[in-house]
Amino acid sequence: MSVLEANKVTKQYQMGEVSVDALDNVSFAVEKGDFVAVMGPSGSGKSTLLHLLGGLDEPTAGDITLANRPISKLSDDEVTIVRRRKVGFIFQFFNLVPTLTAAENVALPLLIDGQNIKKYEPKIGQLLETVGLSDRADHKPDQLSGGQQQRVAIARAFVNDPEIVLADEPTGNLDSKSGTAVLELLRQFCDEKEQTIVMVTHDPRAASYANQVVFLKDGHVIQNLTIGQRSGDEEDIRAIMRVMRELEL
């Protein structure tokens, strides 16, 4: 069953008098438990695709269905509620609230949803333990390293048991060691909790943690590569790089 489906999605931007196709007739489906990496050069439309899939932006044409809801046809408030309850976001720059502690940042989506946080304390504690930050729960973001901040962001993304987690270059702002820890965590959520993840990246090593790689170029999906389940596998990395060379990405 598809958790997410994009059907003939087009997105045009108006640049002065010229209209630019950021995405052109893209169709795309993500099954439950999939870990999909979206790759492509700058300007290929991968960020645009992520924005559309997460309901952050509206397509010019085509339909997107997320958790059985046609998000391209919903009002702003309705899409917002879908995002709040069905989607988790991980950003390149972590986007933690500097005035909140790590635990409070994790609890933020529940707070916005008007939930009783007290009831969720054990869950938040467990998530922090999963990301290895139990001892940093009371720390503010400026007391955490970049890798730690991103791990808090991951815990935040999973706190509301989303149908899908969308990650935008989650390792783009991290050193390789922290990056690996973050990717392993994502893989772990995927394997152990059957979480669905779509990750935009330009890093073949990061993409190798996924089990499916979608290549985008000039607004089109040009290839779909299924790879093995072993995270960071050298062979998978080589396969991804080969495709990239072939497609001149």
Partner: protein, 873 residues
């Protein structure tokens, strides 16, 4: 287990609000200051006004004891025959009638230093003279019930000149029971009164600020040549009627009808209302400026909120991405506004009450009304709190909507952004139009005096708002125009700094606007003060004329004129006399007025007049001498819409008489008290008065002011208790009074400027924070810390320059509009004096204030760490 709590329970989105406020404490403090200052100004002014009124009315309440009604002659300060008591006795509802008379004099030992002190109300400051109250001891026991703190009270059969003094006053004079107080009397010279008892300074004892004594009616009548006349009757009415306002009003009407038109039957408190009424124009003016303070405060509030939103774009974008609706975002911003509004308004109200303590002292100083405590009503506080909260919400509303418009995609971008371009568009669309429309309303639309204050005030706000919108339109060209000047001061860094002001248009606009409003307030106030003073001085020099003024605590005999003329060094003398009256204008309600009698024969020998409407001065004198004519001040003419040839009715001792207006002149003689000027003949004829209040004296060429003064005071004056005041002394007094009265306005102007300065600090700090990366870049290119600081200061200086220019331009308009307002509300017709000195100083202040406020931001910019800065997101 981790701790989720951090002061505020983490169970509501409000936690985000409070954490943000705490994290950005500097910005929060600035916003709070904006609210506090505005609300404090409002509360301070209102509380000061209310305290003044409360003090006046409580004074009259306390002094009127248990009396429910008060009977006086229609022409106040006059006396009436004692058989009036018999007419009132016919009313069985009246239980007690307490008659009274007042003789105004001074103690003999003060005669040499005495000069008249006047208040802005145009009346004598209480305590300048000594009041000898003639009372009926038996009736007073029922009405005032004062007791002796030493000695005894007066008895019904008091024999000899015995008096009671207020204990504090007696102590000041070093007098005790059994000793004598010597006073001046009109015909018996110095008379000694035996002190038989002391009373505390409360109840009747607060009359004339306690500078008073109580004697029997017969004593005062005899000493002040009053025959058997009485000055007032205080009536105590059956409590069943006294406690029923409509029954009391009926009784009041019945007594008034029986006594006829020559009498006024009042409620004791109404005397307070008459006094309070003389301050109304002044209080309206203060109210207006206090609201302006809150208006300037709103700019600061808007600016800080708008900046916070830009700064938090990514954070808000993230909230939106993870599921916060637009409504929730608006709630976040408005919740912060409401919290700050409530806190700021509460602190502001407290600060306002504190400020009111010192303001009431100032008002007390020039109004002559002792104000012991600051009083205000819950409504006033509630009004100020609501205004503070509402203004904060309104100022934050636009940033809140801006925040709600933030797209969740912003969370994924590196830097926040703002839509600065719309400032120019909005400015272009509405700015000049709003200014034009408000100017048209102020100058071209004739408005009724009832609504002019409100419409006028709103038009001024609209003008300032329009001017604000015009700022982004002219900032560019103006900046280029003044750039050479900035370059001259700040060198090459000045070029960079100066041109930077075009970058954050919204921020620059509101900062310049806050400076503009502050400066224009100062200039408006200075322009008004200067115009007032200039016209007043012209009046002093023309209408008052003369080189010396001869006065006495008691009115002087007419023969003093001949004796003055006989002195060497005096070429001309003219006399005048003030008597209380009532004016009945054809189209308005009657009110208290003073009838000033002059001698048409000699007036122009000493004085002159500035005629606004009417024939030349000589002809005016001729018509005045013919009788039944008056001239009026241009303020009264405007207020009552009167012209030359119109007739007004005045209350005289011979009943109401019509007087024809022969001229309309510039006149400040009465302050806010309505005065009309008539002839000596009419004074004698209709008021039965022949004595003199003031002689104006013209000295011969080369005569020595000091010598003549000495001769008058020592030779002529000893027996008559004459005192001499030179024109210079009088001028000084008038100047001092006007400076005191306007000092409160200056305080409000200063508040406006302070908020403007806070705005500059806020803006420049924000600019520095936002441009960290750029500052790092400039440092890496070899710019020294000093150069960076100069660049920041140059930017602030440019803002100060433009704010000053706008402020000067609109301040001049404001001064002119204030004069229009003064004409419409108070009737004063003043000629606008452009306050060049104030303009230059204010412009300088704007420039220096902006630089001063930017010192800290500039220092911060200079401290920038290159590596950190270029990594700055």
């Amino acid at each position: 287990m981790f701790r989720l709590l951090n002061l505020i329970p983490f169970n509501s989105p409000l936690v985000l609000v409070f954490r943000n406020m705490r994290a950005r404490w500097g910005r929060t403090a600035l916003t709070l200051l904006g609210i506090i200052v505005g609300v404090a100004a409002m509360v301070a002014v209102q509380a000061t006004n209310q305290s003044t009124l409360a003090a006046i009315s409580s004074f009259f309440d306390e002094a009127s004891g248990k009396s429910d009604l008060l009977v006086e002659t229609a022409v106040s300060n006059e006396t009436f025959p004692p058989d009036t008591i018999n007419q009132i006795r016919r009313f069985p509802e009246v239980q007690t009638i307490a008659p009274g008379v007042i003789g105004v004099t001074i103690p003999a030992d003060e005669a040499a230093q005495w000069t008249e002190q006047i208040s802005i109300g145009g009346t004598a400051v209480p305590g300048t003279n000594f009041w000898l109250l003639g009372r009926d001891p038996t009736a007073d026991a029922d009405v005032h019930g004062y007791s002796a703190s030493a000695g005894r009270l007066l008895t019904a059969n008091e024999d000899g000149y015995n008096i009671l003094l207020v204990a504090d006053y007696a102590a000041d004079k070093g007098l005790e029971v059994g000793e004598d107080l010597a006073i001046l009397t009109p015909s018996q010279g110095i008379v000694s009164l035996r002190i038989v008892g002391l009373i505390p300074e409360d109840g009747l004892g607060i009359t004339n600020n306690g500078i008073m004594g109580i004697a029997t009616i017969a004593t005062v009548q005899k000493l002040f040549d009053m025959g058997d006349g009485l000055g007032s009757l205080e009536l105590v009415v059956d409590p069943a009627i006294a406690n029923n306002s409509s029954a009391l009003e009926t009784l009041r009407g019945q007594i008034a009808e029986r006594l006829g038109r020559d009498f006024a039957v009042k409620y004791p408190a109404s005397r307070g209302e008459t006094v309070a009424g003389t301050f109304s124009t002044y209080q309206q003016g203060l109210n207006f400026f206090s609201v302006v303070s809150l208006f300037v405060g709103s700019f600061l509030i808007y600016n800080t909120f708008a900046m916070t939103i830009v700064e938090r774009t990514r954070e808000i974008g993230m909230y939106r991405a993870i599921g916060m609706t637009r409504r929730q975002v608006i709630f976040l911003v408005l919740a912060e506004a409401i919290s700050l509004g409530v806190i700021g308004s509460l602190i502001g109200a407290g600060a306002g009450l504190l400020m009111a303590r010192s303001l009431t002292q100032t008002v007390s100083g020039f109004s002559g009304q002792a104000i012991d405590q600051v009083t205000t009503t819950p409504q006033t506080l509630l009004q100020a709190l609501s205004a503070g909260i509402l203004v904060t919400i309104l100022a934050a509303a636009m940033p809140a909507l801006q925040a709600a418009r933030i797209s969740p995609i912003q969370a994924l971008r590196v830097q926040g952004s703002s839509d600065e371009g719309r400032w120019r568009q909005t400015g272009l669309r509405f700015g000049p139009l709003t200014v034009l429309a408000s100017l048209l309303i102020m100058y071209r639309v004739p408005l009724d005096s009832d609504v002019i204050f409100y419409v006028g005030s709103n038009a001024i706000f609209a003008m300032l708002l329009g001017a604000t919108l015009c700022i982004p339109l002219i900032t560019g060209p103006l900046e280029r125009l003044i750039r050479p000047f900035i370059l001259l001061i700040f060198g090459n860094e000045g070029r960079l700094g100066s041109s930077n002001i075009q970058r954050s248009q919204g921020r620059t606009t509101l900062t310049v606007a806050a400076l503009m409003v502050g400066i224009s307030m100062v200039i408006g106030i200075q322009g008004m003060t200067l115009s007032f003073e200039t016209d007043m001085m012209e009046w002093v020099n023309t209408a008052l004329g003369g080189d010396l003024f001869v006065q006495s605590p008691l009115n002087m005999r007419p023969d003093v004129e001949a004796r003055l003329l006989a002195l060497e060094g005096i070429t001309a003398v003219t006399r005048s006399r003030y008597v209380p009256s009532r004016i009945f204008p054809p189209y308005d309600e009657d009110e208290f007025s003073a009838f000033v009698a002059i001698d048409p024969e000699t007036y122009l020998d000493v004085r002159s007049m500035r005629i606004q409407e009417g024939p030349p001065a000589e002809e005016v004198m001729r018509q005045l001498a013919a009788g039944d004519t008056i001239w009026i001040g241009v303020d009264i003419a405007n207020r009552f819409n009167l012209h030359v040839g119109d007739e007004v009715v005045l209350e005289t001792r011979r009943g109401r008489r019509p007087f024809r207006i022969v001229a309309i002149v510039l006149d400040f003689g009465g302050g806010e008290t309505t005065t009309v000027t008539g002839s000596w003949g009419d004074l004698r004829r209709y008021f039965g008065v022949t004595d003199v209040s003031v002689y104006a004296v013209r000295l011969a060429e080369g005569a020595s002011l000091e010598e003549v003064t000495a001769v008058i005071e020592n030779d002529l004056g000893r027996s008559q208790s004459l005192t001499v005041e030179s024109k210079a002394e009088f001028e000084q007094k008038v100047r001092q009074l006007s400076a005191q009265a306007f000092s409160l306005f200056d305080v409000l102007g200063l508040i406006g400027l302070t908020v403007g300065g806070l705005g500059v600090i806020n803006t420049m700090l924000m600019n520095v924070l936002e441009r960290m990366r750029e500052l790092g870049g400039l440092r890496s290119l070899g710019m020294t810390r000093r150069q960076i600081r100069r660049m920041i200061l140059a930017e602030a200086a440019t803002m100060g320059f433009i704010g000053g220019l706008f402020g000067v331009a609109f301040g001049t308009v404001l001064a002119d509009v204030f004069l229009i307002g003064l004409r419409a509300i108070g009737g004063y017709v003043l000629t606008l004096q452009t306050p060049y000195a104030a303009m230059a100083v204010s412009f300088g202040i704007s420039f220096v204030l902006a630089i001063g406020a930017a010192l800290y931001p500039a220092w911060r910019a200079g401290q920038v760490n290159i590596i950190e800065a270029i990594k700055h997101e």
